[in-house]
């Protein structure tokens, strides 16, 4: 189809022709014929070039961490024997990934193919769909355009930011179950696992004397758990808590949940993820990150009601991690109640707004609410961390990690 530009050229040609007729200039007439003819020929040319074109999209990785650069390769194949003119390729991208990728391919020969690529910097977590791609076939004079659409879309998952939380080091005077973090965490089991030599700091009560007699050296008995410890992560996605998806506090909450989840998983915990809309469900670290990548705000409902599934589905001796904003006094009780079913209780409270950016009075109110919540929860045996939206979890986490781990292993 002739484009607007093509129609303008036809108009210009007719204008020249009219001028030629008015003044009787055969030379101008020839020029006018050419100008009028050009868009028509161009339209035929573009239509003739509408061969069997196919396009394939390839991603360097379908899963990406925040800030990672992903390369997208598009391969356009010309399955007919005729060469193409100009192919205006557009691969539509979600706005969060930037503007749609556009490029112009010229002179693709018959039976030939051309690969072009572009890169995306993943600046926001999410589950994105790349595409559809369109190919506008244009003649060399850009007077006509024929559009082809390739509806296939590819998914790209951008994980939320995961802060590296430092691994646990055995406490010199802790449980005495060895220096292996994994073993250390599995202390709730009773089954014999192995014998090993005594090391400084081990609990002297766990010395296995028959082995000491046989080997002539101090040997320690190490038990293994029959089941893994479980941690349930509750992400408070209610819109009344952090606001809408994309708000800094909301994104920070998602990031915190991902960071803690990754850390716990690396520490050997089996993970369960819960939100106000979804009951706790077992997840691996990958599915946790994928779920968190797609996390979105949910409608407001009472916190107690949202926490009910946690209590009903809780496992004895498991840990509860709640990521929320400092709750109002009315909700603190509900939160405290929900924690009673768990052996370990951790609350990570993120300010919906950075108090530092607020006027003194609202900032003070916010700080006051956080302080109240911290006190109340601490009294109920919770470990509480309070963060501003721009804060780093790893900064506060390092301070409290020992206590946290101890609290997660009460039944040794």
């Amino acid at each position: 189809m002739p484009s607007t530009r093509g129609l303008v050229v036809v108009g210009a040609g007719l204008f020249l022709w009219l001028g030629a007729r008015l003044v009787g200039s055969p030379d101008l007439h020839i020029v006018a014929v050419g100008v009028v003819l050009l868009p028509v020929a161009a339209a035929l040319f573009a239509r003739w070039n509408r061969q069997r074109l196919t396009m394939v999209r390839r991603l360097s990785s379908a899963r990406a961490a925040l800030g990672q650069r992903i390369t997208v390769e598009l391969e356009v194949q010309n399955r007919s024997g005729a060469p193409t003119s100009f192919l205006l390729l557009e691969d539509r991208l979600p706005a969060s990934l930037g503007r749609s990728a556009r490029m112009v391919l010229t002179g693709l020969p018959g039976r030939g193919s051309q690969r072009v690529g572009y890169s995306i910097v993943c600046r926001a977590r999410g589950r994105y769909h790349l595409g559809p791609a369109t190919l506008d076939i244009s003649d060399p004079f850009a007077l006509s355009r024929v559009r082809m659409e390739f509806p296939h879309r590819d998914e790209l998952v951008v994980y939320p930011e995961v802060e590296p939380l430092r691994a646990i080091v055995a406490a010199p005077y802790g449980s005495g179950s060895g220096d292996s973090t994994t073993r250390h965490l599995f202390r709730t089991g009773e089954e014999f696992y192995t014998m090993r030599e005594y090391q400084m700091g081990d609990d002297l009560r766990r010395i296995h004397w028959p082995s000491v007699a046989r080997r002539g050296r101090l040997m320690i008995r190490q038990d293994e758990s029959a089941r893994r410890s479980t941690a349930t992560i509750f992400l408070d996605t209610r819109v009344s808590t952090f606001g809408q998806t994309g708000m800094p506090a909301f994104e920070k909450a998602v990031s915190v949940a991902a960071s803690v989840g990754s850390f716990l998983s690396a520490s050997g915990f089996a993970l369960r993820l819960a939100t106000p809309q979804a009951a706790p469900a077992p997840v691996t670290v990958d599915t946790l990150l994928e779920n968190l990548a797609g996390a979105a705000h949910t409608p407001t409902r009472a916190l107690g009601q949202a926490l009910l599934p946690l209590r009903s589905g809780s496992l004895s001796g498991s840990t509860l991690v709640v990521v929320s904003a400092p709750p109002p006094p009315a909700e603190i009780a509900a939160l405290t109640r929900s924690g009673t079913a768990f052996a370990g209780r951790i609350a990570i409270l993120i300010h919906p707004t950075d108090p530092a950016t607020l006027p003194p009075e609202p900032a003070a109110q916010l700080e006051q609410a956080a302080s109240t919540a911290r006190l109340s929860l601490a009294r109920a045996g919770w470990e509480v961390f309070v963060l501003p939206p721009q804060g780093r979890l790893q900064d506060v986490w390092r301070v409290n990690r020992t206590k946290l781990l101890v609290s997660s292993a009460p039944s040794r």
């Binding site: 020839i30 020029v31 050419g34 050009l38 003119s85 112009v104 850009a142």
Partner: protein, 780 residues
């Protein structure tokens, strides 16, 4: 890769400028046809390229600055191309500027009387160089600055059309195709610019990464060749090819002629490819073939620059439909009656009918003719062209020198117009005239003395043409070289300075007689001018001051002493005793071309017969072969006068109206094409930017949205918060991951509309008007 990306815009811009240069050069080449000399084409092409190159160098300057510098460049170019002798190593001097100003003052008069192809007259060259320079500069400004390649084509197209109109030489496909190819290149360059805005150009990797790779241009080459081929081979796919123009451009209303025949003579002489204009069968009543000059008209007014006449188209003359008796006076005794039959072959759109002087009767069935008794010229209202034919009977006066020696009484009042000279005629002219004729016993001898003096000069067609009075003095005193234009004009002026009535006659020499058909074949090389002098009782007699030219019949009184007895010419044509006839033939040996050919069916043997045949012709009984084609030839299409001016004005107005309408349509389309709210917002902001940019208040390079907003707030009185709102939403749409709602998008569109209106209202009306055509500065 980054380096290639950087080079791409520069390459594309170079291609665009190159295309504009080619467009201007091709137009200049076509336009140069109006000049005879071939080197003018080179000069005009160089001028076009120079103009575009200068415009390119000034591309990043304000249009006003560029225009001023380009004007200065034009002055330098005029000095080099037209007045090289006045420059100081190519730099114009005060003398150059005076010469240019002087020439500019003469462009109008020269253009009115000039015929194409013309000589490289300085005023016309100045006009041509200015036209080409301006067209090239305009084309560059429109194509590159405004991004309107279609408008850019128009100024050069006007040059192309002008050449074909004034030349009336039919289609010249080579010029048209070169021009069309340039147009295609301009469109292609513009298309590449636009496409590159879509995204980076990636040529097929098998060739190269350069944006102008073979694979990029291959399609354009194929398409261009196909279009050129069809346009060349089948221009008739659009109706009206080679048809007469819809608008008859009639210059008669302006009271001027489209061509000055005296200048046409000079131009015709310098044609590289002489063409046959007409054939003549010319015989005496006895059937003897007679060669003489074929006169068209006489120019009786000299204004110091050119020879002209008041009624050059005989509009006040006597209507003569189909011909008729031109004179009721009896044929003088000393006159040769010559019957001529003219068939026009190559002459186009010429109003004056060539014929031997003095015509007695004319037959041209169907011809709308006017006869001017005073100038003795016959004018065809529609002009004559190939296929026209007519018959004339003339009585050529050949008085003896003795008779002329005795002639007195040259001072009649009715002859006063033929004695008039411009006031600025140098005294030197009078002095030369007196010195040349000192001691001559009669007026006739004085005339011969002047003629003979000029015959000692050198015939040279390469001299600078012109009959300007100072140039004439130079010709008479210094150069002594020229061609018929200078000789005839100078002799007539010298004679007038002596008080002898004279005028310049324009027409053709006899031409070459073909033994095969007995016809005189007259070509453009035979164009000529000579002098007519009035002798009381004898009428206007032809004299020939040009070396190497000779009027066969008139040479009797011009050079030979008066023989005793009957006039040899008379004997040769009217019949004498045998002995006398032989003697006359001997005298007229150089005059008579040979024995008359057989078959004189179209002769007009007496005037009564003419009357009878003319009445028969009026009832449809055409007797002259080819006479029916009268009027089928192209009409006279002289230089566009009022019609051309009106047409040009209409075109300008149409373009002026179309440009803002087109831009408004583009703006609407920008927003309409946007699919998602985010795109709508960005389109609305782009439109606002374009509108602000039109009045010179667009975003500067590197300026952020908010910086631009802040700057505008300091300049423009804006409505409440619209620009803030627009800037905020646009910033969010461009850079934020937060979604943009439909409502927000509509809000942005409304805000953009209001902000655009505010910005435009803050500037003057003239600036707004100029902004429609993006004449202020390049779009940021």
């Amino acid at each position: 890769m980054a380096r290639q990306q950087d080079q791409a815009p520069r390459l594309l811009r170079s291609l665009q400028v190159g295309a504009v240069g080619l467009l201007a050069a091709s137009a200049a080449l076509a336009f140069s046809r109006v000049f005879v000399a071939g080197d003018v084409a080179l000069r005009l092409v160089a001028v076009a390229l120079g103009s575009v190159a200068l415009a390119w160098a000034l591309e990043r300057r304000m249009l006003l600055v560029a225009t001023l510098v380009s004007t200065a460049g034009l002055l330098v170019t005029l000095g080099i191309a037209v007045f090289p002798d006045t420059t100081f190593y190519g730099l114009p001097t005060l003398h150059t500027y005076h010469s240019i100003l002087d020439a500019l003052g003469k462009v109008g008069p020269q253009a009115r009387v000039e015929a194409a192809p013309t000589l490289s007259l300085e005023p016309l060259l100045v006009g041509a160089v200015t036209a080409v320079w301006t067209a090239a500069f305009s084309a560059h400004a429109l194509a590159v600055r405004s991004g309107s390649p279609f408008l850019a084509v128009l100024p050069p197209a006007a040059l192309l059309a002008f050449a074909s109109i004034v030349m009336e030489d039919g289609a010249r496909p080579l010029y048209a195709l070169v021009f069309l190819g340039s147009v295609l290149l301009v469109l292609f360059a513009d298309a590449l610019q636009r496409i590159s805005q879509w995204g980076p150009i990636r040529p097929w990797s098998a060739y190269t990464r350069r944006p102008l790779a073979r694979s990029t241009t291959r399609g354009a080459r194929r398409l261009g060749v196909a279009v050129l081929a069809v346009a060349a081979l089948a221009p008739g796919i659009l109706p009206g090819f080679r048809a007469p123009p819809i608008v008859e451009i009639d210059s008669s209303a302006a009271g001027v002629s489209s061509v000055n025949p005296l200048v046409s003579v000079a131009a015709s002489l310098q044609r590289d490819d002489p063409v046959e204009l007409f054939t003549v069968s010319s015989t005496s009543l006895q059937g003897v073939s007679v060669a003489t000059y074929w006169r068209m008209l006489a120019l009786d007014r000299f204004d110091g620059t050119v020879w002209d006449t008041d009624d050059i188209r005989a509009e006040n003359g006597r209507p003569l439909p189909g011909g008729g008796r031109l004179s009721d006076d009896p044929v003088p005794a000393d006159a040769v009656v010559v019957e001529q039959r003219f068939v026009i072959t190559g002459m186009r759109a010429t109003p004056w009918l060539p014929m031997a002087y003095v015509p007695q009767a004319l037959l041209m069935p169907g011809g709308e003719l006017l006869y001017d008794d005073e100038a003795t010229m016959v004018v065809a209202s529609d002009g004559i062209g190939p296929g026209d034919a007519y018959a004339v009977q003339s009585a050529v006066p050949v008085p003896s020198p003795a008779v002329l020696d005795r002639t007195v009484g040259f001072g009649g009042r009715e002859l006063e117009p033929y004695l008039r000279l411009p006031e600025n005629t140098p005294e030197e002219v009078y002095r030369i005239a007196r010195e040349l004729t000192a001691g001559e016993p009669s007026v006739f001898r004085k005339v011969l003395a002047v003629q003979d003096h000029l015959l000692t000069f050198t015939y040279d067609e390469t001299v600078t043409p012109g009959t300007e009075v100072n140039a004439m003095v130079d010709f008479l005193t210094r150069t002594r070289r020229g061609f018929c234009q200078q000789f005839a004009g100078s002799m007539a002026v010298l004679l007038r300075a002596l008080g002898i009535p004279s005028r310049v006659a324009v027409g053709f020499v006899a031409g070459a007689r073909s033994p095969a058909d007995g016809l005189y074949h007259v070509t453009s090389d035979d164009a000529h001018s000579w002098v007519e002098v009035y002798f009381p009782g004898q009428g206007w007699l032809a004299f020939e001051p040009t070396p190497g030219r000779s009027n066969p019949l008139a040479s009797r009184y011009q050079r030979e002493p008066a023989p005793a007895g009957p006039s040899p010419a008379w004997c040769a044509t009217q019949g004498c005793p045998p002995g006398v006839v032989e003697s006359a033939e001997a005298v007229l040996g150089a005059v008579v071309g040979g024995v008359g050919r057989g078959g004189r069916a179209e002769r007009i043997s007496n005037l009564e017969e003419l009357d009878a045949r003319r009445s028969g012709a009026g009832s449809g009984g055409t007797t002259l072969p080819g006479a029916g084609a009268t009027g089928a030839g192209p009409a006279d299409r002289g230089l566009p006068m009022w019609g051309g001016v009106l047409l040009a004005l209409g075109l300008v107005l149409a373009i002026a109206a179309l440009v803002p309408m087109g831009r408004a349509a583009w703006r609407r389309r920008q927003i309409r094409r946007a699919r998602e709210p985010r795109e709508v917002v960005l389109a609305a902001y782009r439109v606002f930017q374009a509108r602000a940019g039109e009045v010179g208040l667009g975003r500067r390079p590197g300026e952020t949205l908010w910086e631009h907003r802040t700057r505008l707030l300091g300049i423009v009185e804006l409505s409440d918060g619209h620009l803030d709102r627009l800037t905020g939403i646009a910033g969010r749409a461009a850079y934020s991951i937060r979604p943009v709602s439909e409502t927000l998008a509509q809000e942005a569109v409304l805000a953009a509309r209001t902000a655009s209106r505010d910005v435009r209202r803050s500037v003057s009306r003239g600036r707004r008007l100029a902004g429609h055509y993006r004449l202020l500065r390049r779009t940021p």
